[in-house]
Structures are given as C-alpha cells and as structure tokens.
C-alpha cells in the first residue's frame, strides 16, 4: 500500500500528482474463501478490515452489488455520536466512537472526523426530563454528556432561535462535545484501501443471488459472477436484510423504509456544531464545503426505492426554518434517499443466524453510520471466534423470542 504522508504528498506533487496508484485492486472473485462478506458498505468493509487486522483472517472477499460508496455509507448525514440511553447501546456506540477517534491514523486515511459537538434539543417539560435522565445515564456509562439550559444553548450555538414564542420553544439541550461528523465516503474508501492492502478481495458489481446450504450449514454463495465456496458467510446489507434472509431461508423482524436527506447551496461558515431535534424533527450540520446537510425521519411506509416523498421534506424544512429563521432564503441543491432496515426495538441485529456459519449484521435503522468501525470490529470478532463479542451479545436475533429487547425507540436522542 502506498502510504499517505506529508512527504509523499510533496514528492508526488513534483510529478504533477500523476504517480498515485489505485486505492484498491479490481479483484476477480476466486472459487473459495475463508470468509465471504455480502455487502461492501461501510460495515462490510470495516468487518473485512478488522478480520484481517485483528484476527489474521485475510482470505476474505467482500461482494458488492454496485460500487463502493454507492449505498447508505454515502447517503447518510455523517453524524457520529454515542449518547444512547441504555447500557448495551451506550457501550456499543462508545466503543465505536473511541475507534473513530483513532481511525484516520489506523487506516492511514483521513476520514475527517470533526468532533464539533452535537446538540439534542428539548422542546417540552417531558423532553427536558428525558434528556436529563439520558445525560445522567451517559455519565454513569462513561460517555461525555452535558445538559445545557436555554441560555446555555444560546451561548453554544447563537444561531438557534430560542424565542419563547416558538410553537415548540427550545427549553434546553443535551450536548456531547466528542460527537460530530466524519467524511462518509472517505470512510468507505479508507476501509477498502486498508482491507485490500492486507489481502482482502473487494469485488464490485457482484450480487449474491442465493446461498448454498447443506444440512443446516452454509457452504457458499451463488453470485452474478459465479459460485463461491466459503465455510463462513456474513450478510451486511443495510436496506436489503430481509431480501437476503429470504434467500437463505429465515425471517427477520425488519421493515425497510426510505430515509431522506438534502443539502443546501454552499454558504460561508455559520453553524459550527450539529443540531438535532426530535420533537420538531430535523437535524442539520454544515459541511466543509459550506452546504447545510439536513435530515429527518423515515417515510412511514415500506419501500426499496431509494427515494422519499415530499411531505417529509416539507415537514423537516418547516422545522429547520423555525429553529433557524435565517436559513429561510437558502435554496436546496439536492435531495436523495437511502433504504434503512428498521427493527422493532430500534436496535441492530448482530450475530448468528439459524443457519450454521451464516452471520448477520443489520437492522441499524437510521443510525448505522456512527457505528461503522465498532460494528465491523465486534462483527469480525463474532465471525472469527464463532461466538458473539461481549458488546454484540445483547444484539442477537434471539432477543425477539426471549423478550430481552434493547428498546431505544425515542430513548436514543432521536426517533429512529
């Protein structure tokens, strides 16, 4: 792997930056691997990377239906945080945030993590109580969290309209200072490059069309580029979890919904933190290019269309303008949708499936991006040891039978 450094940059600049090599090989699938990962999104690539880095398993293929950075890893609003209410979730997302903090060094690839602070606004007395409870829970779990009253919000983010006459006035906010944003497609490219350099084959334009299962045990996959044998297969396909599970012959408690985002025209720096509101439901940050990146909730009905409906956009822009009246004259440049798999308790499903050797990682709902390194890390451990990583154990598929749900609906700072 060609390492990036200030010296390399200077040396290549002498050649007009023509001498850079490919970031990863264009791999042709082999007949057999030790592990096949279905899905080359952020979580799939992270899984491959940590399999190679932490467990020495390098005979691995990542099979991607489209191209790297074409799915949800590049369709999200790039927010990274760990201020979840329940112990299991806080441990998982905090583990991930700690990996984020060293990720650029670890991958030798700048993922542009910007720990600019995330505000979660509270607009009613009940929301104030719930938010403060979450702050205490976070502090007990070693997650940095603060409560700001209305005046504190105004000091931290002067742009927010804290006028008491608002229909849903801002009464305060939780603040996680270590939270922020990251450059989403750099995350995909960085993990791909680092995994590839350790021997992982990344195969694009290769859709998995079926699973070979003998005696309740997976033996390989059928793809649009031929059959591939593998004793271990891992499904990591945000948005198509149920489709893959059906091909393998088991059922999941997931529903797929569109989640939309949009960006404004670029403007000079005005917003130096991430602002999220659950009650009026919008979240916004400003990218390094100056665009406002705006998101909200899912469309209510099932869809695989990667596009949402206009009423959701109308609602989130109404909320945005109430909170930031000065944004009312901004033009919106682009909007798009991704498909998210939402689980009944708004928590992911990570671990074994009813089929031996077949592993599943999905159901991250609207919040998977923040978990990318942590998800890959614990999933790689689960695959390598054939036993769930302690942080992954609560997120098993069996919890829907045992009743041990991790109910983050409404508790996790935003609705999922």
């Amino acid at each position: 792997m060609q390492r990036f450094s200030a010296f390399a940059l200077l040396a290549k600049s002498l050649g007009g930056h023509q001498g850079w090599s490919r970031q990863w090989r264009l791999a042709t699938p082999k007949d057999a691997y030790d592990v096949v990962i279905v899905g080359g999104g952020g979580h799939g690539l992270a899984t491959a990377y940590y399999l190679a880095r932490n467990h020495g398993i390098t005979n691995v293929a990542v099979l991607e239906k489209g191209w790297l950075g074409g799915g949800n890893v590049a369709r999200n609003t790039t927010i990274v945080r760990s201020n979840y209410l329940w112990d299991e979730s806080a441990a998982l997302y905090e583990h991930s945030l700690k990996l984020w903090e060293d990720l650029s060094q670890d991958l030798n690839y700048n993922v542009m993590l910007s720990q600019r602070g995330v505000l979660n606004l509270a607009h009613s007395l009940q929301e104030v109580r719930d938010s403060r409870r979450r702050v205490y829970a976070n502090q007990l779990n070693g997650v940095d969290a603060e409560w700001l009253d209305r005046g504190g919000v105004k000091v931290f983010c002067p742009l927010i309209n804290t006028d008491e006459s608002l229909r849903y006035p801002v009464l305060g906010a939780t603040l996680q200072r270590r939270a922020g944003t990251a450059r989403h497609d750099a995350v995909a490219w960085g993990f791909a490059r680092a995994a590839d350099s350790r021997g992982v084959d990344i195969v694009e334009n290769c859709e998995v069309t079926g699973f070979d299962i003998q005696g309740g045990r997976v033996t390989g996959v059928q793809t649009t580029r031929g059959a591939i044998r593998a004793p271990k297969v891992a499904i990591v396909v945000a948005g198509h979890g149920s489709v893959m599970a059906e091909r393998a012959g088991f059922r999941l408690p997931l529903e797929s919904h569109p989640l939309q985002a949009l960006v404004s025209e670029p403007i000079k720096p005005v917003l130096d933190c991430v602002v999220m509101s659950n009650a009026v439901h919008v979240y916004v940050s400003q990218s390094d290019k100056g665009e406002l990146v705006i998101g909200a909730g899912i469309d209510s009905y099932n869809s695989y269309a990667q596009r949402g409906s206009l009423p959701v956009v109308t609602s989130q822009l109404g909320a945005l303008i109430a909170l930031f009246p000065m944004f009312s004259r901004l033009k919106m440049m682009r909007n798009w949708g991704g498909i998210v798999d939402v689980s009944p308790d708004a928590s992911p499903i990570v671990g074994k499936t009813p089929i031996d050797g077949l592993y599943f990682n999905g159901g991250w709902g609207t919040g998977g991006f923040k978990a990318t390194p942590g998800s890959g890390h614990i999933f790689a451990h689960t695959i390598a040891h054939e036993d769930p990583h302690p942080l992954a154990a609560p997120f098993n598929l069996d919890r829907f039978s045992t009743g041990a749900l991790v109910d983050e609906h409404g508790a996790a700072a935003v609705a999922h």
């Binding site: 149920s242 999941l252 529903e255 209510s300 206009l310 009743g403």
Partner: protein
C-alpha cells in the same frame, strides 16, 4: 408522493393517511399454546417484501377507516385498494 384510492372516500393525497404496515397477519387463535419462537414470529417477524406488497392504511384525516392496499415497494405503484375483509391477490410468478 402517493395518490391513495380510499375504498370509502375515493382518491386522496397520502398526507391524509397513516401507513399501518404489513396486512393479513392474523392473531393466532390459541396464543397461549404457542412457543416463544412462534409468538415472536407473529409479533415481530415481517415479510418486508421487495415487490408487490399488501399493507394496511388508515384514512386518518378522512373517514378514519382501515383498509388494505397492494403497492409495489420499488415503483410505489398502487394496483388495488380493498376493504379490511377482502382477500389479497394471489402472488404471480416473479416479483
């Protein structure tokens, strides 16, 4: 943007409706006799179909009645709406 043909009120904008998820999931008659896995299957597991999908909607800002819709989850085309008691269309070959 969906135009939904309420069986009771006629075609209306989607903002008048609320989506209610997968249709035709019958509550087990002898729920107490089910295993945990069977109960989980009823309560949580969903077909989450990619293609033609039967789902429930309620005309919340209209007649407030529930009904069924057959909608394609990739194109969003609606081919049929029918009252709660109606039977789903038999699946065709392919999605």
């Amino acid at each position: 943007m969906l135009l939904i043909d309420c069986p009771h009120c006629g075609p209306r904008d989607e903002t008048e409706f609320h989506a209610g998820g997968e249709a035709h999931i019958a509550r087990p008659e002898k729920a107490a006799e089910l295993t945990d896995a069977q109960w989980a299957d009823y309560l949580f597991m969903r077909s989450n179909t990619k293609g033609w999908f039967a789902e429930r909607w309620v005309h919340a800002a209209g007649c407030r009645r529930w009904f069924n819709v057959e909608r394609h989850t990739v194109t969003h085309e609606i081919r049929r709406t029918y009252p709660m008691a109606g039977a789903p269309t038999e699946p065709e070959e392919g999605p």
